[in-house]
C-alpha cells in the first residue's frame, strides 16, 4: 500500500495493454493498445458502446481477467498482488447479494472473510449502512428491498473494508432513471467525503458527465480508447443541476463526438 507521501504516484498505470480472446470463430481483440494513468482521488468514467471492452478493462484491473499483452500496475503492485492485498472494492452490474444473509450480514461478509473481530464488524456495518442511509433495514433480507436499495447495500459492502480504490461496473444500469439520479447524487457525496479513487463503467453520457473528473471514451472492435476528456465542471458541490451547466453540455457534446468517431470506424 502506498502511503500518503506517494500520493503523486498513479493508482493505476496501464501501458500498451491488450487482451485477445480465442473463440471458435477465431481470435477476438477485446482490448487493444490501452494506455491510462489514474491519479489518486480521481473519478474516471469508462464510456462506450457494448462490446468496447470497458467491463473487461475493469475486470483486468480487478484481476478477474488476465491481459494478453502490455503492462498494468495497481497501487504499485501487479493486479493479482493488489487483489491479494484486498486493494479494491468491486460493485457489480447486479447487487450479487447472498439471499440467505440479512442486509447487515451481507455488508459484514468481506469483513468476516478478512478476519475482523465481531465488535469491529458491527461498527463498520453500522457506519457504512448509515452512509448509504439503510440503517433501518439492517435486519431485512435482500428480497425485501427494492433494486436501488439492494445496489446501495452492495456499495456499502464494497466500502465496508475501506479500500482506497472503488471499481464500479454499471452499478445503476438496471435501475429506473429517477432512482439512478438519486444514487448518482449519493455517490457524488460519498466520493467527496471519502476521497476514494473510482473507476466507473457506464453507458450513460449524462451520468459520466455528472460524476467524472475524467471521462475515457472507448470504441469497439477492437476495444480501444478514442478520447480522454478532463472534466471542466467544478469538482465540489455538484448536483443534478450541474448537468444543465454550459460546461456539462460541452462535455457531453465532446463525448458524443468521440463515440461517433469510434462508431464510424467500423462501418
Amino acid at each position: 500500500m502506498p502511503d500518503s507521501s506517494a500520493a503523486a504516484e498513479p493508482v493505476i498505470a496501464i501501458a500498451g495493454l491488450g487482451l485477445t480472446f480465442f473463440t471458435e470463430d477465431g481470435p477476438v481483440e477485446a482490448l487493444s493498445k490501452i494506455d491510462l494513468a489514474v491519479r489518486p482521488g480521481e473519478f474516471i468514467s469508462l464510456i462506450g458502446p457494448s462490446g468496447c471492452g470497458k467491463t473487461t478493462l475493469l475486470r483486468i484491473i480487478a484481476d478477474l481477467e488476465q491481459p494478453s499483452e502490455g503492462s498494468i500496475q495497481v497501487n504499485g503492485l501487479s493486479p493479482s498482488a493488489n487483489r491479494l492485498a484486498r486493494g479494491y472494492g468491486y460493485v457489480f452490474q447486479a447487487p450479487a447479494l447472498f439471499p440467505w444473509r440479512s442486509v447487515a450480514g451481507n455488508v459484514a461478509l468481506p469483513l468476516e472473510i478478512m478476519g475482523l473481530g465481531r465488535a469491529e464488524r458491527d461498527q463498520r456495518v453500522q457506519k457504512y449502512l448509515d452512509l448509504v442511509s439503510l440503517s433501518d433495514f439492517r435486519r431485512k433480507f435482500p428480497w425485501q428491498l427494492s433494486g436501488g436499495m439492494q445496489q446501495r447495500v452492495s456499495i456499502a459492502r464494497a466500502l465496508s473494508f475501506e479500500p482506497q480504490l472503488l471499481l464500479m461496473d454499471e452499478p445503476f444500469g438496471a435501475l429506473d432513471e429517477i432512482t439512478r439520479d438519486r444514487l448518482n447524487v449519493e455517490l457524488l457525496r460519498l466520493w467527496e467525503k471519502t476521497q476514494k479513487t473510482v473507476i466507473f463503467v457506464t453507458h450513460s453520457i449524462p451520468e459520466a458527465v455528472l460524476l467524472s473528473s475524467r471521462i475515457v471514451v472507448m470504441s469497439a472492435r477492437p476495444g480501444r480508447i478514442v478520447d480522454i476528456i478532463e472534466s471542466t465542471l467544478p469538482r465540489r458541490n455538484r448536483s443534478l443541476d450541474s448537468r444543465d451547466m454550459p460546461e456539462a453540455h460541452a462535455l457531453a457534446h465532446r463525448v458524443r463526438l468521440g463515440l461517433k468517431a469510434g462508431h464510424s470506424y467500423q462501418e
Binding site: R83, G89, Y90, F92, P99, I113
Partner: protein
Amino acid sequence: MRNRIFPLATIVLVLILAWYGLALILNHDQAVRLAGDAQPSWWDLVKMSWSLDRPLLPVPHQIAAELWRSVFTIAPWAKRSLLFHAGVTAGSTLVGFCLGILLGIVLAAGIVHVRTLDRALMPWIITSQTVPILAIAPMIVVVLGNLGLTGLLPKAVISMYLGFFPVAIGMVKGLRSPDPLQLDLMRSYSAGRWTVFWKLRLRASIPFLFASLKVAIAISLVGAIVGELPTGASAGLGARLLSGSYYGQTVQIWAALFMAAFLGLFLLLLIAAIERLYFSRAGGRA
C-alpha cells in the same frame, strides 16, 4: 380447505371400494372351500371372503384391526408390538440416512472441486444405482458380518447405499448453483476455496439439499427394510414382513406394509418441518 379435502376423500373412497371388490374376487375360492358342503348364501360368502384368517388379500378393516391390536394393545417395547419393529427400522434408516448425507456431500464436494473426480466418479455413482439392491444386500451383510459387524450397521450401510445417491446428485447441482457474479465477488475478496465453499457454495446448495433429502429419506427406509430381509433379523419391519410371509400371515404383512408407509410419511414430514424452520431463519425464502 374444503375443495382440497373433497377430491382426496373421493379418491380414498373409490380405492377402498375397489379394494373390497378385489378381495371378493381373490378370496372367493378360499371362502367356497371353507364353506365346504354347507350351501352358504351369497351374502355369507361375501362376509367369509372379508374375514378369512389368511386371505389372499386382506380387506382394510382387517388391516386396521391388526394395526390397532399390534400398536395400541401391546407395550411398545414388547417384541410383538409393531411400534417396536418400526422403531428398529427407523433406527437403521436414520443412521443410514445420515451416513448417506455425509457420503453424498463429500462426493459432491470432491466432484465440484476436482475436475478429474467429476469424470472418474460420476459414472460409478450412476452405475451403483443400476445394481439391484436385493442382489447386493446379502453380500454386504455377509462381508460386514465376516468383519464382525452385525446388527444395525449392515442395515444402515444398505440404507446409505441407496440414500447417498440423490444427495450426491442434488449437491453437485447445488454446489454449482452460485452465479458467476457471486463467485467473482468472493474472488475480489481473495477468499480461499474453503471460504468460498463454506460461505457461498454450501449455503447456496441448501434448497437443493432439502429436495434431495426428501427423496433420500424414502429410499433409505426402503434400504433399511431390504437390509432386514437377508439378515435373518428378528426385529424390524422387514423381519416382520418376512415372518409374515413364512407363516402365510397376510394380515400381518399388510399391517407391516402400512406401518412402513406411515413411518416414511412421518420421516418426510419431519424433513419438511426442518426445511421450514431453516428457511424461516434464513430469510423466509428458498
